[in-house]
Symmetry: C2
Subunit: 192 residues, 2 copies
């Protein structure tokens, strides 16, 4: 199977693919990275990449080492009536990151996004389009980029103040308090 002639089985191969993907995405960005190139860099058959990962978004998500798969959570949110989307997005976003390990991981992610152009480009290409962009497009085909970016601006800002700056007033607020205060903002941006 493998161009290298030998291949550690199971989780080792998966870990090799994730490691190779992380390097490819960082070097080339999200858009310019192909699953074929990742397979080549990992020394595995492309079929094995497809065996472990459901396409490029899924592989990219694996490289982020997130506590959950953001696309799958968005798929669940998209089942809700349109007028409940804003509150649901805030609730899902915060519940994903609100554990002590999640807070540390989000803070680290935001630090790397702010300080490295490569991380910023990945976030822009992936999160804004594949996650928030799908949500905005689901509600309306008008101004999808702008509406998605506005939703992203509120969520990223909320995460900065809650997890990185730990500003009183949002750092210790309950998730439901923030759903009540910020949900209508996200709802309005989705409906702009």
């Amino acid at each position: 199977m493998s161009p290298r002639g030998r291949r550690p089985a199971g989780e080792d191969a998966r870990a090799d693919i994730v490691r190779a993907a992380r390097e490819e995405f960082a070097a080339k960005g999200y858009d310019a990275t192909s699953l074929r190139a990742v397979a080549r860099a990992a020394g595995v058959d492309p079929a094995l990449v497809h065996h472990y990962f459901d396409g490029k978004p899924d592989l990219f998500t694996a490289t982020l080492d997130l506590p959950v798969n953001p696309r799958r959570r968005i798929d669940e949110v998209l089942q809700l009536p349109h007028d409940q989307l804003g509150a649901a997005v805030v609730r899902v976003f915060l519940s994903v990151w609100d554990s002590p390990e999640g807070r540390d991981r989000m803070a680290a992610l935001l630090r790397s996004v702010a300080s490295h152009d490569a991380a910023a480009r990945l976030l822009r290409e992936f999160v804004v389009r594949e996650v928030v962009g799908r949500l905005a497009a689901h509600v309306s085909p008008q101004r999808v980029d702008a509406r998605a970016a506005l939703v992203g601006s509120q969520l990223i800002g909320l995460a900065m103040l809650r997890y990185v700056l730990e500003v009183p007033g949002v750092a210790e607020a309950s998730v439901e308090d923030l759903v009540r205060d910020v949900g209508p903002t996200v709802q309005r941006y989705l409906e702009l």
Copy 2:
């Protein structure tokens, strides 16, 4: 006058004070830094610090090397009717940072805030309380911390997407488009 026995006049003394203040604020945080300690570190009489700077907020603002004084801009905004504050805050915030040099400076500031605890603490203590906090307190005495932090979250997030991540949809939008889209969010947070 000076404990050191000699003192360069005018702008040199002012620059020494700003340099010493930058170090003191970074080492001790905004709250724990006194003008007296800054004077001592700069080797000048405390009266000279008061001659150049109108109190600690003004001195701190000088250390940030900002294109404008954010407190003075807030003073102007506070003259407006309450129902115009949200739009005015977004307009002032973006017009301060939207020049090419302003964009670079804001991106650098956000990078240092995200990566250094000291910078994060300074932003939390100064911007949230002295700038956005005054605005929130001006509108209502209820939940000032939470309302100020929510305003801050939207402005910081907008700056992250516009100046650091350069996300399509907000990076190239006009200031007035963003005033129209984001102004009502800030207005709502001020009135919560």
